[in-house]
């Protein structure tokens, strides 16, 4: 099972991200297309230090270590699909 995980998603659970839309990201699993479900692991991580009312990067997510700012479930899924497609090429 573990081997099949291709995408490691880390959702910032720092309070700023969490109240600025990050809470919603914990429903990500419901938005994943079925062909991706088994390939994705989702975990919460502490604040990654990108939260700031001026910069407005929140909510933040990392996909395989790469940061995605202003994340939404839709954005994450889109990014996963792009990665998946690139892989097929």
């Amino acid at each position: 099972m573990i081997d099949s995980i291709k995408y490691k998603i880390q959702i910032c659970c720092g309070t700023m991200c969490y109240i600025m839309g990050g809470a919603e990201l914990h429903l990500l699993n419901d938005h994943l297309p079925s062909n991706l479900k088994d390939k994705v692991s989702i975990e919460g991580i502490p604040c990654i230090g990108k939260c700031d009312t001026k910069e407005k990067h929140h909510p933040c997510v990392k996909i395989n270590g790469e940061e995605l700012n202003n994340a939404t479930s839709q954005k994450i899924v889109k990014q996963l699909l792009t990665l998946e497609n690139n892989d097929l090429l």
Binding site: C13, G14, T15, M16, Y18, I19, M20, G21, A23, E24, H26, L27, D30, G44, P46, C47, C51, T53, K54, T72
Partner: protein
């Protein structure tokens, strides 16, 4: 009830900014800069222009500071002056919602509109069937005369092209008791003779035009400058609202500067015991049914809309009220602060002399965010009270009260129960019918104004499903920790 949308995020950002400014002692100097910073000229405006956007932010801030927008004396009064007063605490009057009229006024007067799908057909069933003669055809397209239209919807049903659309007014539609409607200027107004503070309009409005009057500045200022001692009474729903262990959440609340922290679930123990006895007594003496009393919005509903229900509502104090009694005994010098997911608790607290402040999940979250607390890195040492039964924390979700009562009822009592999960038009009909029935379907009704219970309160930060999972996990964690000791 938090649906992810930008209006909610704006509210959270406003709270965070206010608290950041207060924390860094810049509130009075910089509060008037918030609208400029949040709505810079470089962004494309959300409404007609940047000035409108900034005005909206200004008035939203005013509302959060505890002011009725309608009471504005002078348009040029800077936010600073309002902030100065807010730090002292505003004078409460029992109404805790206010409409930000600058943000409102954008919704339709008439719910029906003709889209460009209109073919201007010969039959014109919309026109022929309109009972008010409100439809004119101009340039081959139907038009609705707003002066004449009475929102009956016949034209929409009659149109074979589905060219007539229904545009709801979200706040009006969400209000279960018809307490919000447009005034002569087309701006929504809340009728406080009817309002039950369920908060549904507030979460429904996609412009964030309905705001609650917050006490957070006043409280946070007092805590920061140690002007008074405080005891935080934390509702069990709070444990479902942040991604950290219960101990971390409670320890973080303490770290904000509260001197003592208590779980409202401790009071829920007492509510359960008392309410169970009360139920048995009432049924013994011939009552057909009894309902719960812990949801303040339901209580306000019964007072304003269904006094016939009153005799059937339990007299047992709510978990918050019991907790406040304990708090007064244990910490007689301290100001009691209820921290919870509920708007209506503000009205309950307004009538309860043992409690001084109400803070919402959103406000608590904003404090954590502004102070840059990382909950998962906070002290995880146990702080929860050992006397709290797990079912008492379960009060936070619908069905929790029933479950708690059933756990202590012995099996020979055959109590039938029913859950009223959310006050809406349908459940109101059911509730109203109960007092007249000789036999009711159940003998115990648990009534929750929010569907899903307190974890779905209007001032929460987590979506319902996330909260449900988190609450379960929190209760289990505490149980296994206690078992381990």
């Amino acid at each position: 009830m938090t649906y992810y949308n930008n209006a909610v995020i704006t509210k959270h950002e406003l709270l965070v900014r206010l608290i950041q400014l207060l924390d860094t002692n810049k509130l009075l100097d910089d509060i008037d800069r918030i609208p400029l910073e949040m709505r810079p000229r470089t962004n494309s405006p959300i409404r007609c222009c940047v000035h409108k956007d900034r005005a909206v932010i200004k008035y939203k801030l005013m509302a959060l500071l505890g002011f009725n927008i309608a009471d504005e004396q002078h348009e040029l009064t800077p936010l600073k002056e309002y902030a100065e007063q807010a730090l002292e605490g505003y004078t409460q009057n029992g109404n805790f919602l206010t409409v930000v009229d600058e943000a409102c006024s954008s919704c339709v007067q008439v719910n029906y509109t003709v889209s460009n799908l209109c073919q201007g057909c010969e039959g014109r069933p919309c026109q022929v069937n309109c009972p008010k003669d409100a439809i004119m055809v101009l340039n081959g397209k139907a038009n609705i005369d707003h002066q004449k239209c009475v929102n009956c919807g016949i034209c929409q049903k009659a149109c074979p092209f589905h060219a007539i659309a229904y545009l709801p007014v979200p706040c009006e539609e969400s209000c279960p008791v018809k307490a919000i409607r447009k005034n002569a200027d087309g701006i929504e107004e809340i009728d406080f003779d009817k309002c039950i503070h369920c908060g549904k309009c507030m979460t429904a409005c996609p412009f964030g035009a309905i705001s609650e009057k917050s006490q957070i500045l006043n409280l946070f200022n007092n805590i920061k400058h140690k002007k008074e001692k405080t005891v935080a009474m934390v509702a069990p729903a709070i444990l479902s609202q942040f991604k950290a262990s219960s101990a971390q959440i409670l320890n973080s609340i303490k770290a904000v500067g509260f001197d003592e922290v208590m779980e409202v679930a401790e009071g829920a123990n007492m509510t359960t015991d008392h309410e169970t006895n009360e139920l048995l007594e009432r049924l013994n003496s011939g009552a057909t049914f009894m309902t719960t009393s812990c949801c303040p919005s339901y209580i306000e509903f019964s007072e304003k809309h269904a006094p016939e229900l009153k005799p059937f509502i339990s007299d047992t104090p709510s978990p918050m009220a019991y907790t406040a009694m304990l708090a007064k005994k244990r910490f007689p010098e301290h100001k009691a602060v209820f921290i919870g997911p509920c708007l209506a608790k503000r009205t309950e607290v307004y009538q309860n002399q043992n409690i001084d402040y109400v803070i919402t999940t959103e406000e608590l979250g904003a404090v954590f965010a502004a102070l840059k607390f990382d909950l998962v890195k906070t002290d995880d040492s146990p702080i929860v009270s050992k006397v709290v039964r797990p079912e008492s924390r379960g009060y936070a979700a619908s069905g929790g009260v029933t479950n708690a009562i059933k756990t202590i009822l012995s099996s020979e009592h055959n109590i039938t129960t029913e859950l009223i999960d959310g006050i809406d038009k349908k459940s109101i009909r059911l509730l109203r019918s109960l007092p007249n029935k000789k036999v009711t379907d159940a003998s115990f009704y648990e009534v929750m104004a929010c569907d899903g219970g307190c974890i779905n309160g209007p001032v929460n930060v987590s979506p319902l499903k996330v909260s449900q999972n988190k609450l379960k996990k929190a209760i289990q964690e505490i149980q296994s920790e206690e078992a381990a000791v």
